[in-house]
Point group: C2
Chain length 336, copies 2
């Protein structure tokens, strides 16, 4: 209804019409536009072109449903990674477990974690971080760990946004996951993060079930204690780091066929994108570029976390889409 | 039509009626009985009771579709394991590769494999077998290995039955896979065999896609040669043996939740059955018992392959179904 007609009629009843009409238009846009948070432009168009090519029967690039597999990095690709939720989880768990381990108060890197001494933590490097990760992720069954991670995710808040981490997923990527799923794709997460941590929320947040989550793992053993029940038990030994060249290796092991689309945001995702996009037939690779200092954080070539350096050089020759968060996304998070 | 009426009428036209009628009855039985190769009895009934309990909405044992996961051993559970197809593949591959490795003619266990010297092969034990397996499975991409395995499966013949190994799947188990799939289950293979070998035929033979096959693995590396394309490459180092306690560990890693039904045939499947059937809610475990010397091979407690010893003792107290191939199956293979 045109505003002039509304004003001319001047009926009270009609005052709700624009609201209803707006709601109707919005719902219709949702139905007709599967990517409402993606602005018109080359990035959005490259996604739609790829999907049309591989899902249109008779198209030279048509891909049968069983081969429609897409792989997604998680941190920085599907949700905010600065700070990394799992790192915050580790620090909080060190504090929660500290009463049981009095020696931690005087032993590094635990002392630094307890005192919030970030300089010492940074100096401890990957090795120190791994030690903290193992101490806080092991000595439980997977079921027990799931409860611990779920409870933490329900209460922890991002220091800047003051929201739970699961609210800091990227709305445009959620729409992309949904569009791929409704186009016959199975979406997998292939993350450097711990697989059990991601499995604690992937189903409810991304609609990605546990068996479609691949990640880093710690050693797990089968135990059947006398008088007890059979269980799996997580022990403090690293099993597999699912990052860099580990990502295509894990894809081969877990999925057993080459996906046709890959999504990442850092140099740790390059081998996965290379492996996926160099296969035969139509392929799609996309890098999320964190260039929105206002709505999120701007970082790329020199960032200690989520560093995207080689990726920005390789994207052009590899014909990967580089999605600018600032330019291509009209909305960042589900709750604004 | 009753025979007496046919004879009384004596019309030539009617002579085809019994054939048509029989065909109709058979097709109808297929439609109404999802397990036509399972004889009436406790085993068949236990399967149907379990499925009714977990798929009937409102039933206290109802299980939502995403949690309907079933795991199957392969060798001896889904297809004939004496001799084991993959072992025959290894021996044939040693012969095929021998011209490239002249030293094999004088080096054990390769010499024994080339000469069919089974006594020496048996004496070489697991270690010798692993050496042969690595030498014949490595030094390829997964795609190349898939072609090699597929070609072998198309031409190799079982020494006794003179059929291809993929024709020596068990018809009652194929019906069970189909019934589970049509009841909302995802069927996984969890096998001690090599994952890439099973993936070469699981989709076409069992309707189980590569990503639902878990097995033993050799180390795989990511390579991006200069001037070449990114690829995975299989190297001659053992990565993981998916047998015994390794099966529940692999289930936790790959699937990330406890399946509700497990099927095996040997003591190597016991930990998997224990893990699956001790979870909360309604569970189902089944052991295939090879007791049919006439139609297949009879073996259990003392067999060097597929040994079922502890399993026969544990089945009763664990409330697992023991399916007798002789008594419970009215048909063995798809082609008779």
């Amino acid at each position: 209804m045109m505003p002039i007609a509304r004003r001319a009629l001047g009926l009270g009843l009609l005052s709700i019409t624009p609201i209803l009409a707006a709601g109707h238009v919005w719902a219709q846009a949702q139905r007709t536009d599967p990517l409402p948070s993606w602005r018109d432009g080359a990035s959005r168009q490259s996604i739609l072109d790829f999907l049309a090519a591989v899902t249109t029967e008779g198209s030279p690039d048509f891909v049968p449903v069983p081969q429609r597999i897409a792989v997604f990095d998680n941190d920085g690709t599907l949700w905010c990674e600065i700070p990394t939720a799992q790192l915050m989880f580790v620090l909080d768990r060190v504090k929660a477990l500290a009463p049981h381990y009095p020696a931690w108060r005087t032993t590094q890197p635990f002392k630094a974690a307890l005192e919030g001494d970030t300089a010492t933590l940074a100096a401890a490097g990957t090795h120190g971080l791994a030690e903290l990760a193992l101490a806080t992720h092991a000595n439980t069954t997977p079921e027990q760990f799931n409860v611990i991670a779920t409870e933490w995710l329900a209460t922890a808040r991002h220091p800047k946004f003051q929201r739970s981490y699961t609210e800091l997923t990227y709305q445009p990527m959620l729409e992309l996951l949904r569009l791929l799923a409704s186009s016959g794709f199975r979406n997998y997460i292939v993350s450097g993060g711990g697989v059990e941590f991601i499995r604690a929320f992937s189903d409810s947040v991304y609609d990605i079930p546990p068996e479609q989550v691949i990640g880093s793992t710690i050693r797990t053993e089968y135990r059947f204690p006398h008088g007890g029940k059979p269980e799996l038990f997580r022990v403090a030994v690293m099993d597999f780091i699912d990052d860099g060249p580990g990502k295509p290796v894990a894809i081969g092991k877990f999925i057993g066929r080459r996906p046709i689309a890959a999504f990442g945001n850092s140099d740790g995702d390059l081998e996965m994108l290379q492996y996926v996009t160099s296969g035969p037939g139509r392929r799609f690779g996309l890098l999320v570029h964190h260039d929105d200092a206002e709505r999120e954080v701007a970082y790329d070539r020199q960032s200690p976390f989520g560093k995207l350096d080689r990726g920005l050089d390789l994207a052009g020759p590899s014909r990967w889409t580089v999605a600018s968060m600032r330019q291509d996304w009209n909305r960042m998070f589900p709750v604004q």
